[in-house]
């Protein structure tokens, strides 16, 4: 198992510079690397670095896909929005669905936008299943919970800029999905 800590905020840019991948950062969500065993990775460090880079890229793409899908589903109050299963996996998938349903039951929905600034903090391709840890200084100051009838903010709902962490997992179908994630409101950023 290798864990790499990126000190750079724009991790995907680093990846592009190091491995020479061209194309937009996070623009290829279907890019799923094949299985990499821990032993093989140790024997061939360059292949390992390439696999990690590809995993980081796919994980960050899944993360931005999660933010977008969750945003759309929350704005529409639709816990069954089909985009959710493309980028999310249990248990986070269930958590997000429940939160959307609960808001809907209270006559509330979300408006505005989330501004993400995500980086990869570690990659573990030897784990079963393989995982990538992501952190984000997520700016939710414009991401509000409001009542659907009058668009007034729900009392007690106030956005902020807090550290969020998420885990991307590679599934047997080869896709990376975000399977866990939390907001750390005790850690403003």
């Amino acid at each position: 198992m290798r864990v790499r800590h990126s000190r750079h905020r724009a991790a995907c840019l680093v990846v592009i510079a190091a491995v020479g991948i061209t194309g937009g950062c996070g623009g290829a969500p279907e890019n799923a690397p094949g299985p990499v065993s821990g032993a093989a990775a140790a024997a061939h460090p360059p292949a390992d670095a390439a696999a990690e880079a590809a995993a980081e890229k796919a994980a960050l793409a899944a993360y931005s896909g999660y933010l977008a899908a969750s945003g759309t589903a929350s704005r529409r109050g639709d816990p069954r929005h089909p985009e959710l299963t493309r980028f999310l996996a249990d248990p986070l998938l269930t958590r997000v669905r429940l939160a959307i349903r609960e808001a809907k039951e209270h006559g509330a929905m979300r408006t505005g936008k989330l501004v993400s600034d995500s980086t990869v903090t570690s990659v573990d391709l030897a784990a079963e299943p393989p995982t990538v840890e992501i952190q984000d200084c997520l700016d939710a100051t414009g991401w509000r919970l409001v009542y659907a009838r009058d668009r007034k903010p729900v009392p007690g709902s106030r956005g902020g800029r807090w550290l969020s962490t998420a885990t991307a997992t590679r599934f047997p179908d080869g896709r990376w999905r975000i399977s866990a994630g939390q907001t750390h409101q005790d850690q403003p950023c």
Binding site: Y66, L67, S70, G71, S74, P79, T85, A89, D90, P91, L92, L93, T94, R95, V96, R97, L98, A99, I100, R101, E102, A103, K104, E105, H106, G107, L114, E128, P129, D136, L138, A140, W143, L145, V154, G156, S157, R158, G159, G160, W162, S164, T165, A166, T169, F171, P172, D173, R177, S179, G181, Q182, T183, H184, Q185
Partner: protein
């Protein structure tokens, strides 16, 4: 003006000890023992629950019971709260005495044995021969007690189809069967109560007190309709006598056409036989009927009021 006499009121008077339906009474007592019925479930986010990045305020509803008219289900669901004062059949799924829905669209099926909901992990994180990953939400649906577990057999209750009787219980919990609100005459402001003079009794009318009430609950394509109405109200006069009436009764008016006479439909026409302060209460006897999924059933429920006092003085002959 001391004549509260008169005859012919249709109210049926029953002496103490003459229980009208002993068998039904025993059943009612059993139903009451079986306890309250309510689908409220643990809130989605407890104090120890970390919210997802995109729902940083997922615990915002923790102190809010939610919209009782909203879609059912737990998270809130809980949605609909139990408001009718209990009674009715016992919940099929319970945790620590709390009734819970046996199925939740997102948490899955409830296992009465361990108090956890189970759903298949979506998607399966790994393929393990003969086993499957489940999202397990324990403590009756507490997200702080959520885990992903690998099991070699489906938990008890998993993939159970919707149960009409269970839906009927939830539908009953969504309608409000309220205890009767009483008024009696004479009272202090309508003149003194006297031995041997008629007493009027009446209760607030309205669907929540006398029906008819209607509700329904659906789960995975099965809908159960429920209705409830009061068949009779039994007044306990506080001295061992009971009076049974068919409806809420008629308010007494001091300047009305029947002032000083008997109630046309709900009275204690012969009055009290001895002076004293009596505590009057009343019990409404509901019949609850439901149908759905090819099944139907009826059962009784009761709601009992608080007691209201009535003061009865000695009849004195006034000569002038």
């Amino acid at each position: 003006m001391l004549t509260w006499g008169g005859r012919g009121a249709p109210a049926r008077r029953v002496r103490a000890g003459a229980a009208r339906r002993p068998a039904a009474g025993a059943l009612l007592a059993l139903l009451l023992i079986l306890g309250a019925a309510g689908p409220a479930m643990a809130r989605a986010g407890g104090p120890d629950v970390n919210c997802p990045p995109t729902q940083y305020d997922c615990d915002i509803w923790d102190d809010d019971p939610g919209d009782p008219g909203g879609p059912g289900g737990p998270g809130g669901g809980g949605n609909g709260g139990e408001t009718g004062g209990g009674g009715g059949p016992a919940a099929k799924c319970q945790w620590n005495g709390r009734p819970l829905p046996c199925y939740d669209e997102f948490l899955g099926w409830f296992n009465n044995g361990d108090g956890c909901y189970y759903k298949l992990a979506e998607p399966q994180p790994s393929v393990v021969e003969g086993k499957q990953w489940y999202v397990q939400t324990c403590n009756g649906g507490d997200l702080g007690a959520q885990d992903q577990v690998l099991l070699d057999a489906a938990p008890a209750g998993f993939e159970a189809p919707p149960d009409p009787a269970e839906l009927a219980r939830q539908a009953l919990a969504s309608i409000r069967l309220l205890p009767p609100r009483l008024k009696v005459a004479p009272r202090r402001n309508t003149g003194p109560g006297l031995v041997g003079l008629p007493v009027w009794m009446w209760a607030s009318p309205g669907p929540n007190y006398f029906g008819p009430l209607h509700g329904s609950k659906s789960d995975r394509g099965l809908t159960v309709e429920i209705s409830a109405k009061v068949d009779r109200i039994v007044w306990d006069m506080g001295n061992g006598d009971t009076v049974t009436c068919d409806g809420p009764g008629t308010p007494y008016e001091v300047d009305g056409p029947r002032a000083g006479l008997t109630s046309p439909d709900c009275g204690y026409d012969d009055g009290y036989r001895a002076t004293g302060t009596y505590r009057i209460s009343a019990t409404t006897h509901w019949t609850v009927s439901w149908s759905g999924g090819g099944e139907s059933q009826s059962f009784p429920l009761t709601r009992t009021s608080n007691a209201v006092p009535i003061e009865i003085d000695e009849l004195q002959v006034v000569t002038g």
